[in-house]
Symmetry: C2
Subunit: 273 residues, 2 copies
């Protein structure tokens, strides 16, 4: 099986490495904008050649969603099974409508690192991948894509693009926006150097996702902005509620909220481990 | 030198372990509310005996700030050098005014773990400790406390309690509140189980500090609520600004904000490593 990866970054590169390790692909061709990144990908054995997606059996599109219109146009008429790794799915489903064997997908395994240099064969092990096939999606193509992700060690789920985007707005897109916002707020202060110098592990972890790829996150925020705005509104309501507890110095209610949050998080960690 | 630790948790226990490792103390007596925790502290060699702070040369108060009035009352008339590990300092300075050799301090090295079981001799290595002596603080006592923290491997700074509380509100107290709030918001939804099940590493790190100690964070929020409310207001302004960028689908401005935040964070990590 010949695989083409369009966008050989963290996600695309890790997909190629994982499938090579699982001996599920015989040849990987890399397609991308950056010659330097493709060079790294070849040197690391992620791809076997640089070229185009013409002869591939399977194509993974792992570029920022803003580039999809151009990429999908170049894939028009392709008989390959095409899938993608975009973090939003309603927009991608709409963009890929004209492709005959397109299976929209999202591996939930981002990291703040990017580029082929950060790719790893184990990135998807035990991670979730969501496929969002529509009524018109080729069933065989969906099964093949599912099998490839399973070969990477991932846990594959299927849901509608709408449901996917709503869930991810809450647990991924909103936290990213909030983390970018906090770092930006601190960075703009006159005493930002002092503030950063007393920031510790809590700040570092809270803001880790603020080191994510700006272009990619611009595209995600724009593509999912209705659900993201709805989540932002709910979160603003929560913050306002906490503000009122602070204003009235309601220690009992604050402690209750903190304890409930801690309990829910600990329960989540226990059930997901 | 005989050390008494009141509250043998993560911070108090780690202070004792680090000073034992540095051979800076000969005997450590543990004081606390939980017999079970003190038992763990003895078993782990953190403390040598359980008792009171009567005969100690140095006393570290590492209990939640809510317990300080009672603890400080019991230390009235003590000739020992007394210091503390509270995360807020203006309130602690006021509470400790009647103690003759009290040096207010704050090791910035929390973690979401708590209790003697989590203590480690290396917790403070290369971490910052802030001392906030006032004009009336015994200079020799301050130097002794500084030397002890340095023996733990920490980097010690001095500033006013006011300055400390303002800085920490921005880079520690606010992120904790925001993380508790996000987890609480998700946990209260009808589909919280589904939401958590698709939460990944970004969510886990963003919310790590939401597993912090509820009672301790209640006390911090109440003690520092003016500065925390001011920080919350600024952050709400930043969130509202991002909301407007989303509403107007201003991709360029969103990408700029994300890139500036990422750049500032990367710069911070580089300069702090």
């Amino acid at each position: 099986m010949k695989l083409a990866v369009i966008g050989v970054g963290l996600i695309g590169g890790s997909f190629a490495l994982a499938l090579k390790k699982a001996k599920a692909v015989s040849h990987v061709v890399g397609v991308g904008r950056s010659a330097a990144n493709l060079k790294v990908a070849r040197e690391r054995g992620i791809i076997d050649s640089v070229g185009d997606a013409q002869d591939a059996d399977v194509v993974l599109v792992a570029a920022p969603v803003g580039q999809y219109p151009t990429i999908f146009k170049s894939l028009s008429g392709s008989k390959a099974i095409i899938t993608d790794a975009g973090s939003t799915k309603r927009d991608v489903v709409a963009l890929g409508k004209h492709l005959s064997r397109f299976v929209p997908g999202h591996p939930i395994a981002g990291a703040e690192k990017s580029g082929a240099a950060a790719a790893s064969a184990d990135l998807f092990r035990d991670r979730r991948v969501v496929l969002t096939p529509t009524a018109g999606t080729d069933g065989e193509a969906t099964s093949t894509v599912e099998a490839l992700w399973k070969a990477c060690g991932a846990r594959v789920s299927r849901m509608t693009a709408e449901e996917h985007d709503e869930v991810l707005a809450a647990v991924s897109h909103l936290p990213h926006l909030l983390a970018f916002g906090l770092v930006h707020e601190v960075a703009q202060r006159k005493n930002s150097e002092q503030l950063f110098s007393f920031a510790a592990g809590g700040f570092r972890d809270f803001t880790r996702i603020a080191s994510s790829h700006p272009e990619m996150w611009r595209d995600i925020c724009l593509a999912n902005r209705e659900f993201l705005l709805a989540e932002l509104k709910k979160y603003q309501g929560k913050v306002a509620a906490m503000e009122r507890l602070l204003q009235s110095a309601d220690g009992a209610a604050l402690e209750k909220l903190f304890a409930e949050a801690r309990g829910a998080r600990d329960q989540w960690l226990k059930s997901s481990s």
